[in-house]
């Protein structure tokens, strides 16, 4: 999904991975539907936010599964490294993922 929004995101991504980020086939975690899972390619956002997320286990190559949306569709609930965590939709938008697959 080499769309314009992911490019926009990358232009202010402090991770200095602009080139990588625009490489096709990456989608935002926020576009995942409940029951879908996939692998983290890159975490964007402010340095502090990135570090916090990575400490909680959102590191490259980790599998994330979307469990559900909150009653008002936001925030979202995920399983990562065997535990459940919730992030807001716009924060999940800072996590670039491989294309989703249906979880078993």
């Amino acid at each position: 999904m080499n769309d314009s929004t992911s490019q926009e995101k990358c232009s202010d991504c402090p991770a200095m991975i602009d080139k990588e980020c625009t490489v096709g086939d990456m989608v935002k975690l926020s576009s995942y539907r409940p029951g879908e899972k996939g692998t983290i390619m890159q975490v964007c956002g402010t340095p502090e936010f990135r570090l916090r997320l990575m400490e909680m286990g959102f590191v490259r190559g980790t599998e994330v599964k979307v469990i559900k949306y909150a009653p008002l569709s936001d925030p979202m609930e995920f399983v990562i490294k065997g535990y459940h965590i919730t992030l807001r939709r716009d924060q999940a938008g800072d996590i670039m993922m491989a294309r989703p697959e249906k979880a078993a």
Binding site: P47, F49, L51, P71, G82, L87
Partner: protein
């Protein structure tokens, strides 16, 4: 005996650290604060193999970066408190993320023993952890434990003591970060070694890692040391170098590498049989956080917390009230009338009793909150409500702070404000701090309970529910306004773990409830006692000038002699002493405890009967009935006049006191709401602590009584007091809900926000809001003639 061992308990939130702490120390624990900050510090001692072990419970954290105050506290204790050993509690069913903290502890060079906790949960999920393999990989003792059942505790302590006694301090470099990073690390480490820099027992390698991660807290430790500039220059150069090579910042590289190491360790030591199995907890969540059912259940849960708190605690609250009433009567009877009795009965027993009487209610509420926290439902509340709270410029984590402050009526803004420490974004945190005092804290409950009990006896739970909605609406509106004016800006990240549902241990719940309730009682026992005495003094001194008191007395005795001068009265009451005897008898009758009725003169009995008192012991005497009826008429008239004169005297006396004068002065301000000076004095007392509002009202009204035995409960008194009606009660409730935070809260606001002007801001805005809302309620109510 050998020296005491200091053992620090570290671990992630939700890893069962508290349960393990309780299992280790039992009842021998002490709760305090970390020096200089208001984060809770739990300590306890135990004896094992003839060594005394002092356990310090560190705040639960996910990491040891300088992200939150908890992390800094935990880290500083390991660095500066120099514990002999760190006990790392990890959740065996959630090992990977838990090991992130463990790896950092190892990097620091601390002696670590690992409790592989909740091993039963892991086994239940078919997660097999090879703990001896993990022991090899991490080169620290790893012991499977079950904190709930106390499994593995003894072995854990054996290994810990053994480790303290026999193992050497060995610098650990369990993670190799790869050639490029290692090269830069050794450059920094070498410079540190050369300046003979040491930080506690910690390895310079760890310092080098932290410096390369750009940790400003650690960089500060170098301040004032020779060679600091050279080191920081090297750090700066290395960071730039690494950033250029890896196209990412060094702290991210380190995090990546740590998780890389952990992944490897997990692969070698953990075997999961069924990876995608849906656990019980997830099935529960399918219902509890369901899009439709979730919010309905949420409301039902909140509502049942009220029912539990109010109806569950009712018998206990009643018996507490009875006890304090009994105590007051006991002291009244035992002591001669005078200043000291007034101080003890009206000042101390009424004041403290009024607050302590609500202790069961507070305890039930804390128990309910502890259940929500320990089961894991509290996090779901934040999950479901974040979208709503965000709309008001708050944060999902604000939920917890607001809940503790009294989101479910009965919390306290002080721990609530402290709970905001987990919030990183300063603006959202500050807004949460500023609106937290608007919630219905435990100290406001006695006021509500009193007024609801007196004026809305039919709908206690319903009115409380309504008040909760009102306080939320006020807090959210205030938050929105503050966030779009004084503190505008974008919202902060929301990263929240949803722990698996757990059945809480009874012991854990009770300890939790007991600690919080005890804090409340301590506050009531100390601050409130002092404030009660001050308020009593304010309402006693200066007393009425002698001439004025004398003139009242003269008018009263004139009334008596006029009554006695009546021919019918004179026949029965020869002297004023007879009249006093009869009055005492009549009061006993009114209380329903006229035990010596048969010893009274038959005329007294007849008159009492004519006055309408009924008793088997009152014999009917038809011949005198007409005369007695006439006498009863005159007596009633006399008694009423005398009573109103006495009330006038007391009123004048109270108004003359300092408190009365302030109250009277405020009558102009509160005229639109219809608060009289007694209410105003109570509100002034509430500036110190909201608990005082009820006790001051109590003091104000009980002091107006001639005889304590005749004193009806405050609620009954207010009901019959002219000027009081449901509308006034509601107006007062709204005012008390919103006005000025208590003194303690103001101090905490100042300390937590770091600026005293925020305390001042909170004072001004809340009181203004309270005044406007009370005015609105009273005006609308009067206009629509509701509750008047």
């Amino acid at each position: 005996m050998d020296e005491k061992i200091v053992l620090a308990l570290a671990g992630n939130p939700n890893a069962g650290k508290t349960t393990l702490f309780n299992a280790l120390t039992g009842a021998r624990q002490h709760v305090g604060n970390w020096p200089g900050v208001t984060v809770e510090k739990k300590e306890g001692t135990l004896k094992h193999s003839n060594r005394e072990i002092h356990v310090v419970d560190l705040p639960g954290t996910y990491s040891l970066t300088a992200y939150s105050l908890e992390e800094i506290i935990a880290r500083n204790f390991i660095v500066e408190g120099s514990p002999e050993i760190v006990l790392d509690v990890v959740d065996a069913s959630n090992l990977e993320r838990n090991l992130y903290l463990s790896v950092q502890l190892l990097e620091m060079g601390a002696k670590v023993v690992m409790a592989l906790n909740m091993i039963d949960v892991a086994e239940g999920r078919k997660i097999r952890v090879d703990h001896s393999r993990l022991e090899e990989l991490l080169s620290i003792p790893v012991i499977p434990t079950n904190g709930k059942k106390g499994v593995g505790i003894s072995e854990l302590l054996d290994r810990a003591v053994h480790e303290v006694e026999y193992s050497n301090d060995k610098p650990r470099s369990i993670i190799q970060y790869g050639t490029e990073i290692e090269e830069e690390l050794s450059k920094v480490e070498e410079k540190l070694d050369r300046m003979i820099f040491r930080l506690g027992k910690l390895s310079n390698r760890w310092i080098a890692v932290k410096l390369l991660e750009g940790d400003s807290e650690i960089a500060k430790k170098l301040d004032g040391l020779e060679g600091r500039d050279r080191i920081l220059a090297q750090v700066e150069q290395s960071r730039r170098h690494l950033t250029d090579i890896f196209a990412d910042s060094p702290e991210i590289l380190f995090t990546d590498a740590r998780y890389g190491f952990i992944s490897g360790a997990i692969k070698q030591s953990v075997h999961v049989e069924t990876a995608d199995r849906v656990h019980l907890s997830e099935n529960i969540d399918k219902v509890l956080t369901n899009r439709v059912l979730g919010p309905v259940i949420l409301l039902a849960v909140l509502y049942s917390v009220y029912l539990f708190t109010f109806q569950g605690s009712e018998p206990l609250v009643d018996s507490f009230e009875t006890f304090f009433k009994w105590l007051g009567n006991l002291v009244s009877d035992a002591m001669p009338e005078g200043m000291l009795r007034s101080l003890i009965v009206s000042g101390i027993i009424d004041g403290v009793g009024g607050v302590l009487g609500f202790t069961p209610l507070i305890a039930f509420m804390f128990l309910a909150i502890a259940i929500l926290e320990d089961t894991g439902y509290m996090a779901r509340i934040a999950f479901m409500l974040d979208r709503v709270l965000r709309g008001f410029g708050l944060h999902g984590a604000s939920m917890l702070a607001l809940m503790v402050s009294g989101g479910i009526a009965g919390g306290c803004a002080v721990p609530g404000i402290m709970a905001t420490r987990t919030m990183k974004e300063p603006k959202e945190r500050l807004v949460t701090i500023l609106v937290a005092p608007l919630m219905n804290c435990g100290a406001k409950l006695p006021v509500y309970a009193l007024l609801i009990g007196a004026f809305f006896p039919g709908g206690k739970a319903q009115i409380m529910f309504l008040l909760t909605i009102v306080s939320w609406a006020m807090a959210l509106t205030a938050a929105k306004i503050i966030r779009s004016t004084v503190l505008s800006g974008p919202s902060a990240p929301f990263v929240l773990e949803l722990p698996p549902y757990r059945i809480p241990t009874l012991r854990g719940l009770l300890i939790h409830t007991w600690e919080r309730t005890w804090m409340y009682v301590k506050k009531a026992g100390t601050v409130i006692l002092a404030v009660s005495i001050i308020i009593w003094a304010m309402m006693t001194f200066p007393s009425l000038p002698a001439e004025q008191a004398k003139s009242f007395d003269q008018r009263i005795s004139k009334l008596s002699s006029e009554f006695l001068a009546l021919p019918t009265a004179h026949e029965l009451f020869k002297t004023e002493g007879d009249l006093e005897d009869f009055e005492a008898f009549r009061k006993q009758l009114a209380d329903g405890k006229a035990k010596d009725a048969e010893n009274q003169k038959p005329e007294f009995l007849a008159l009492a009967q004519a006055l309408g008192y009924e008793s088997k012991k009152l014999k009917i005497d038809d011949s005198r009935k007409a005369a007695m009826a006439q006498l009863a008429d005159s007596y009633t008239r006399y008694a009423e006049e005398k009573n109103s004169l006495e009330n006038e005297k007391q009123s004048a006396g109270l108004k003359h006191t300092l408190g009365g004068r302030i109250g009277v002065a405020l009558e102009y301000v509160f005229k639109p709401m219809g608060f009289d000076w007694r209410t105003n004095v109570a509100l002034v007392g509430g500036f110190a602590a909201k608990e005082v509002v009820v006790s001051t009202l109590g003091t104000a009204y009980s002091m107006g009584e001639v005889n304590r035995k005749e004193a009806v409960s405050l609620a009954e008194r207010l009901k019959t007091e002219p000027g009081w009606n449901p509308l006034l009660a509601l107006t007062l409730i709204v005012f008390v809900m919103l006005y000025n935070p208590c003194f303690t809260t103001l101090v905490v606001i100042g300390r937590e926000s770091g600026k005293w002007r925020w305390s001042l801001f909170a004072m001004v805005y809340t009181t203004t809001l309270a005044y406007c809302m009370a005015f609105l309620v009273h005006s609308v109510g009067s206009l629509l003639k509701l509750g008047v």
